[in-house]
């Protein structure tokens, strides 16, 4: 085991996969400046700074994938993805299907997002659900260094286009990583971060931390919470979620992205359609508001579900409503 940050884990995954497969190339605005060691070891042909032009960066990745390479394109921040949306959604996501399966698009598009930098809505926008909605794309959003590494490696080896979201607030978080080059984490498997019996918390990215904190605080009140980290939003590990909900009968879904048509809505629908008989209470969603991310630190933080709100929601679900709970929940 090695201790490393999320940022280091991503770098290591890129390095190992470039080592592993000469078809892997890395491109993006400034990637050759940022990963100078990769340029030195793998050459300027495989690690390319691009012009500042997301539409052609993503389009080039799609074309390169169709042509036999395995591109990783760093699109920097999620709010820049809309410029590249045509290539990702209309080409990468559809061309395998509409060619009758003749072509594959093995590529990864990376982008950062999330609160933590206080620079506002044009750098911070959790757009992952938009891509979950687009057919043909896989979508990952990990929370631990080990998962960033293992999932990025698996994404690069996958035959499909994968959107790989990096929660900015986690970049410098450290964790233990099994640093064997063949250590991959398969797409579509959720991780149970903590076992519990009274309530299931489903989350991904930085709000997994809020759930874990909440679960710890709930212990003092004799409430046992299970915390599931989805990691992969598509494919979605329905079985792990359903098995937990069937045991606990209560479900709270937590994410930073806004709630309308978001991942939490999908998880709630999953529970309602496939575990309805097990539910003892309505499903609770704690999400970001239907508002652009503010720059001001206090507003930015107020837009992210915090442990306090998760605790309040769990107490309400398990023990019934209280004034305090209602006051806290009013923010979300």
């Amino acid at each position: 085991m090695t201790r490393m940050t999320v940022e280091q884990a991503i770098h290591q995954a890129l390095r190992e996969e470039m080592e592993h497969d000469p078809r892997v190339i890395l491109m993006g605005e400034g990637v050759a400046t940022k990963h100078r060691d990769l340029v030195e070891d793998f050459g300027a042909e495989r690690v390319r700074n691009t012009p500042l032009a997301e539409a052609i960066m993503a389009g080039t990745a799609v074309g390169a994938a169709a042509g036999g390479l395995r591109p990783v394109v760093d699109l920097l921040f999620a709010p820049f993805l809309p410029y590249s949306m045509d290539a990702l959604v209309n080409s990468a996501g559809k061309l395998r299907y509409i060619s009758g399966g003749q072509f594959s698009f093995p590529m990864v598009a990376m982008a950062m997002t999330g609160a933590g930098w206080a620079v506002g809505a044009q750098h911070n926008h959790n757009l992952e659900a938009m891509f979950v909605h687009a057919p043909g794309l896989k979508v990952l959003m990990p929370s631990t260094p080990a998962d960033f590494r293992g999932l990025l490696k698996a994404a690069i080896r996958d035959e499909n286009p994968v959107l790989f979201f990096i929660d900015l607030g986690l970049l410098h978080q450290e964790g233990e990583v099994e640093a064997r080059a063949d250590e991959l984490i398969p797409l579509g498997q959720a991780a149970v971060r903590r076992e519990g019996t009274h309530v299931t918390m489903v989350s991904y990215a930085k709000t997994v931390g809020a759930c874990l904190q909440a679960a710890e605080q709930l212990e003092a009140r004799q409430i046992s919470a299970e915390v599931i980290d989805l990691r992969s939003l598509k494919p979605l590990d329905e079985e792990t979620v359903l098995a937990s909900v069937r045991r606990t009968g209560r479900l709270i879904v937590v994410h930073e992205a806004s709630g309308l048509c978001g991942v939490a809505a999908e998880i709630a629908a999953l529970a309602a359609t496939k575990a309805f008989d097990a539910l003892r209470a309505p499903v609770v969603r704690l999400t970001g508001p239907d508002a652009p991310a503010a720059s001001s630190w206090v507003l930015e933080q107020a837009g992210v579900p915090q442990a306090e709100a998760v605790v309040a929601a769990a107490v309400e679900l398990v023990l019934g409503t209280s004034e305090h709970t209602r006051a806290v929940m009013a923010h979300y």
């Binding site: 400034g30 206080a118 620079v119 044009q122 750098h123 001001s296 206090v298």
Partner: protein
């Protein structure tokens, strides 16, 4: 890299000489110097605040002459769209450094009540419609603003000025915006501050050297490329373009060749920058050069300059004090302003 190849004015595709620098009054020239100094001091204060934990910013250190020269050629009727490096444009337009700093710190007295931060400041009262942090966002909106102007929705005789960088010229939207503005004959001044850098990538890694002016010219716009570190040259070129746009109602293009002296976004150690290039451009600092020029020409003496420096310092100290004393927004106002 050979710096001079970027500093010598690229051919004026019009071939007509502009108004002379001497057309500016002594007061206007002194005021240009003071405004450039104010922009510099404001951004240096932001760097200090960032070191103390405030959010980072994109400074325009080295580009002050672009902001002061072009904004000086506009008037109250005009509307402005700009990019992430907008502090100079705002201050030259008369923005209050205290309210700008409050915005950077995320406080209620900021121009946008803490919703924007440094990267998206807009001010209706100043006619600054957008600071776009999506590179090219300003180019995308500019033709529509100018269309509204043309269709009688702005102040009579007003035009729209859009500021963007050399990096934005790499986005497809650059060409889309220019082409539409020409085809629809829109009263729009395109201002490209070519500061040689696109975040952490040198522009020569992404485009041919003279690409920007050539591209603009090929769209059929009157295009001028001038030394962006010489405030009077910038002013003269902008004043002429603005005057022509007011008469013809059709777009023009101004490339200002300049340099980003600090990093892309604070903090930034600039380890990726060629030190020789940086030193060469610092020697051509727009403020230092203009101070010397005004001293030599006798428009100001050392005491006058010291008094100017003092005024600037006092304004920035007051601005910082105002910003730091400003209240944080209340968390329960988080969703104000999302919908009309």
């Amino acid at each position: 890299m050979n710096v001079s190849e970027h500093t010598e004015p690229v051919a004026d595709h019009h071939g007509v000489p502009g108004p002379t620098h001497e057309s500016a009054t002594p007061e206007a020239r002194l005021s240009s110097l003071e405004t450039m100094m104010l922009i510099r001091a404001y951004e240096e204060q932001l760097v200090e605040l960032q070191r103390g934990g405030a959010p980072g910013t994109c400074t325009s250190v080295g580009q002050e002459a672009c902001a002061v020269g072009v904004i000086g050629a506009l008037d109250e009727r005009d509307r402005i769209l700009t990019n992430h490096r907008s502090a100079g444009h705002l201050i030259a337009r008369g923005a209050d450094p205290g309210r700008m700093m409050a915005e950077v710190l995320g406080r209620t007295d900021g121009y946008c009540g803490g919703r924007s931060g440094s990267l998206h400041i807009a001010s209706r009262e100043l006619g600054v419609v957008l600071t776009s942090t999506i590179v090219g966002g300003e180019l995308s909106m500019a033709p529509g603003m100018a269309l509204a102007q043309k269709m009688g929705r702005g102040e009579p005789g007003g035009i729209v000025a859009v500021f963007f960088g050399d990096g934005a010229a790499c986005e497809g939207i650059f060409h889309e915006s220019l082409n539409l503005a020409v085809q629809w004959q829109l009263p729009l001044l395109f201002v490209c501050e070519n500061n040689q850098w696109q975040a952490f990538v040198h522009r020569l890694e992404t485009m041919p050297d003279r690409a920007i002016a050539d591209w603009a010219h090929s769209h059929g716009l009157p295009t001028r490329s001038v030394d962006g570190n010489a405030v009077e040259e910038v002013y003269a070129a902008a004043a002429r373009a603005v005057a022509e746009i007011r008469v013809t109602g059709s777009p023009q293009f101004l490339e200002l060749v300049t340099y980003r002296q600090r990093g892309h976004f604070e903090p930034d150690d600039q380890s990726y920058v060629d030190p020789d290039e940086l030193v060469a451009w610092r020697r051509r600092d727009p403020i230092q050069g203009y101070r010397e020029h005004l001293l030599e020409s006798g428009l100001i003496d050392p005491e006058g300059l010291a008094a100017m420096e003092r005024r600037v310092r006092e304004r920035i100290e007051a601005a910082a004090a105002f910003a730091q004393a400003s209240a944080w927004p209340a968390p329960d106002r988080l969703t104000d302003h999302v919908y009309a």
